[in-house]
Symmetry: C2
Subunit: 257 residues, 2 copies
DNA sequence: ACCATTCGTTCACCATGATGAACAATTTTA
DNA sequence: TAAAATTGTTCATCATGGTGAACGAATGGT
């Protein structure tokens, strides 16, 4: 079913929702029209439908649109059906106790990652992010692990089409070197990040197996001064162990169904 | 802008999402087609678009669709912008301490209510529900308060078109009597429920004012044996007081912007 | 105060998008 | 095991849905 029909208006609607979701104060029709290269009457017609279903709310005084409660309802339902976060939570907590850094759980959603859960480090200074946040696919250890999970041609094609954005001066932007990192992650089962996504930050990520329709991983993140080469090796070992532990639990949960 | 154009395909897409959100195991194309009275190729084209944007996930083995991570991302963003729940939370906690029953915060979303926050009673036996749950607009004290907030013609029209479903043997289904309840709620600022929605349960609700684009209310719910007539009057007084307190805070927050 | 610009809204037009029919694949029934 | 029924997928068709042009309202600049 290559190149199957995809209702274009639905895709435009979600482009609109994504733009509106990035705005704090709401967005108007002309602003959305310009930003998304859509006609104003197209935006107008789609927003009317989104408002009708409660996916956006129109402020009658400013004529701007913000996200509506229906998205919250659907979002809650979507989140409540992601079993992996319950399955993974105990292992994430145990991992955080052992390594004393924040532990993230995330999934790939098209060309970015979405954070599903976090067990924050108990240290006063720690790295965290809101659950639901998006991270670029090319960013850091987690990104490499996700790209290692996909067929090599698909990963290569993404690199070719999108290019690797430079996040820091340490970002690996050379496609051949980046593909090597991905192959290494595929071989070892984990990936590392040494200030490639955020300056002063190191990370280790490992993929979770056995999730039928989701591509999932956990990763540990900490400040570089706290993570020398020895601790980095320790993080890799522990993260890989926890990812396998979670993968086993998933397999057990599936068999019990 | 009466009868303005609303992109029909977008509305169909959200019908599909709503149906899928009620399913635990995912739904197939023919099932959705029958349930929603849409053509199979229409459902097919819309689901392809929804999958492309990550709003649904297709299970390749069962060919069923479940809600995708994009909805979770948008839902998180929608929820994070609803200021009222932070503003209301302290007053809800204080109200729960005073009345010792669960306190709900919700908003109207088209023709139903959505729970945004709950401060659960500390008693062992209590009433609660998942945040994000939907409640029918005609149900209980909260429903009356929301209908009291809308123009009388709009409320009357809804009753005429939808009819009042019978939830319990105490449900007020007579339209004239129900309109009287709504008028009373409008006059007094609060509404009550005496086993009209759930057997054995009483509730009091009060509207929150000053929310520009949302229609919001708080309500207290408890088991009837714990709530005699005297306590019911006490609940009404306290709930109304807390709703006004929250309304004042909203006004103050708006003025500070 | 007036003019220019921008925004939101309406409407007629037409071609793109939604869909019904047909077909292939899969599942169910006998 | 074979036939019937159902599901998912493809494709040609055409009319409905999306949209460009025009207009009214609001805002900004002089």
């Amino acid at each position: 079913m290559v190149n199957a029909y995809q209702a274009p208006t639905v895709k435009k609607a979600f482009q609109i929702l994504k733009s509106v979701s990035k705005s704090r104060q709401g967005m108007g029709i002309s602003e959305l029209s310009k930003q998304l290269f859509l006609g104003k009457s197209t935006v107008f017609g789609i927003l009317n439908a989104l408002e009708n279903v409660g996916a956006v709310v129109r402020d009658p005084t400013t004529k701007t649109y913000t996200l509506g409660v229906t998205l919250f309802e659907l979002g809650r339902a979507a989140y409540s059906r992601i079993d992996i976060k319950e399955i993974a939570r105990p292992a994430m907590e145990a991992l955080m106790e052992r390594v004393q850094e924040s532990v993230f759980l995330g999934v790939r959603n098209k060309e970015h990652l979405t954070i599903l859960d976090i067990v924050e480090s108990m240290q006063d200074l720690k790295i965290t992010a809101p659950v639901g946040s998006r991270i670029p696919l090319f960013a850091g250890a987690a990104g490499k692990v996700f790209m290692a999970s996909m067929p090599e041609e698909q990963a290569a094609e993404l690199i070719r089409m999108k290019g690797i954005p430079r996040f820091t001066k340490h970002t690996i932007i050379n496609p051949m070197r980046f593909m090597e990192e991905i192959r290494k992650a595929r071989r070892t089962g984990y990936a590392t990040d040494d200030e490639e996504y955020i300056p002063g930050v190191r990370a280790v990520a490992a993929a979770i197996q056995g999730t039928r329709t989701l591509s999932a991983a956990i990763w540990v993140v900490g400040f570089k001064p706290r993570i020398d080469a020895k601790k980095m090796a320790f993080l890799a070992e522990e993260t890989l162990y926890s990812a396998r532990e979670i993968s086993e639990k998933i397999k057990t949960a599936d068999a019990a169904r």
